[in-house]
Symmetry: C2
Subunit: 206 residues, 2 copies
DNA sequence: GCATGATACTCAAGAAAGTGAGTAGTCAGA
DNA sequence: TCTGACTACTCACTTTCTTGAGTATCATGC
């Protein structure tokens, strides 16, 4: 039941439409939760029914009309109650880690490709988060902003996201290097064993 | 559908019972996926029905009998196919981050308590992962183990888990410090504004 | 000698999350 | 003028995850 609280937390920063919310929760920027548009529209409907958010119709001429939502007093109270609950530990759940766990039994090339792709993805998010942080703190330096800035919540979660993606990138890079080195070794070994100084086709499966 | 592949990956390290698997996937050690016992038993049943794992009954006298599972050739092929698919990016999903996102609107004390608790949790996992890594590499040093060790998959995922928990701990510590400093400031400001050199009760909500 | 906790599982129900498809207008570029 | 991308949403369905309860035996400690 944390999606609803994530929505409430996101709406604290100002009125948003379901569509804007969806963009924030979907690719990239979701540095504290992730959800798809359909989930968000559904959750907004529920939240409005329960009076935790309120929406107002905004008529637009060049585009479809939209509804902007904001958090009500009840909504804020619900968030407050949520914050007081014990946070359940957040567990890792990552396809790529599952693959690496099985590394010793799988095709190394495929894994290295996966690691490289994830590294690029992480790099892109690092850029994105860096830009977001700069934007949030404006012309102030970080220490100053953290001391006196008005809204540091999003800044802190963004810092977490940045650190996460940096670790991700570094780990991907290092793991790929290790796998490459081992692949190279096993090729060498195979060549030495069968016919020294021959050019046997390079196999990636050790 | 990654749970099934996580189970397969876990079983590569040797035969395990559902119960042993459950312990590995539950608290702590699950450094590449997390799941509850019920899910695992259900998944094992499905996997066995599809021939991706095979179980054998082990009769015990001092304890209930158990079934040990291992991955079949079909299971390994399924893992191989899974590895070749594009890994979907793993998104953050963390109660605590949701709370911090809303930090500027919530009770600071409650948040700091949450951060402290998570920090302790992270510290415990760091210890745990450190021990696991030592155990896996035995008497070799890390570089040597990563070059020539026989099974590095679990080692690499454990390294990822360790890095994650370190970042977690550091971020919790730093965020809590920042919030404490701001709380202190706002108290000061409040005291200065109402009655300088009076002992007004300290409020934590800025 | 009785509670507690570990081993070893199973069943049922419900909440949450993910997937796929569809509507409908606007705008920019080929 | 047609294609594709963007804004702005909705409906229906399936899979996955979580919660709670229950069974049975054995070992350990108070």
């Amino acid at each position: 039941m944390a999606l609803r609280h994530a929505v409430l937390a996101a709406l604290l920063d100002g009125e948003l439409s379901g569509y804007q919310l969806a963009k924030a929760f979907d690719l990239g920027v979701a540095n504290f939760w992730h959800a798809l548009p359909q989930q968000l529209y559904a959750e907004l409907t529920r939240l409005e029914k329960e009076g935790l958010v309120a929406g107002r119709e905004v008529v637009q001429d060049a585009r479809p009309n939209k509804r902007l939502f904001h958090v009500t007093a009840d909504g804020l109270a619900a968030l407050e109650r949520f914050a007081a609950e014990a946070a359940k530990p957040s567990f890792v759940r990552d396809d790529l880690l599952v693959k690496v766990q099985a590394a010793d039994h799988l095709d190394t090339d495929v894994l290295i490709a996966g690691l490289a792709e994830r590294e690029r993805f992480a790099e892109a998010k690092i850029e994105l988060f860096g830009g977001l942080l700069r934007q949030m703190r404006g012309d102030r330096d970080e220490a100053e902003f953290l001391r006196h800035g008005e809204r540091i919540g999003p800044y802190l979660t963004c810092l977490r996201g940045l650190a996460f993606e940096r670790e991700n990138r570094d780990w991907c890079r290092r793991s790929a290097e290790i796998l490459r080195a081992r692949r190279h070794q096993s090729r060498q070994a195979a060549e030495d064993a069968t016919s020294p100084s021959s050019s046997s086709p390079a196999r990636s499966r050790p």
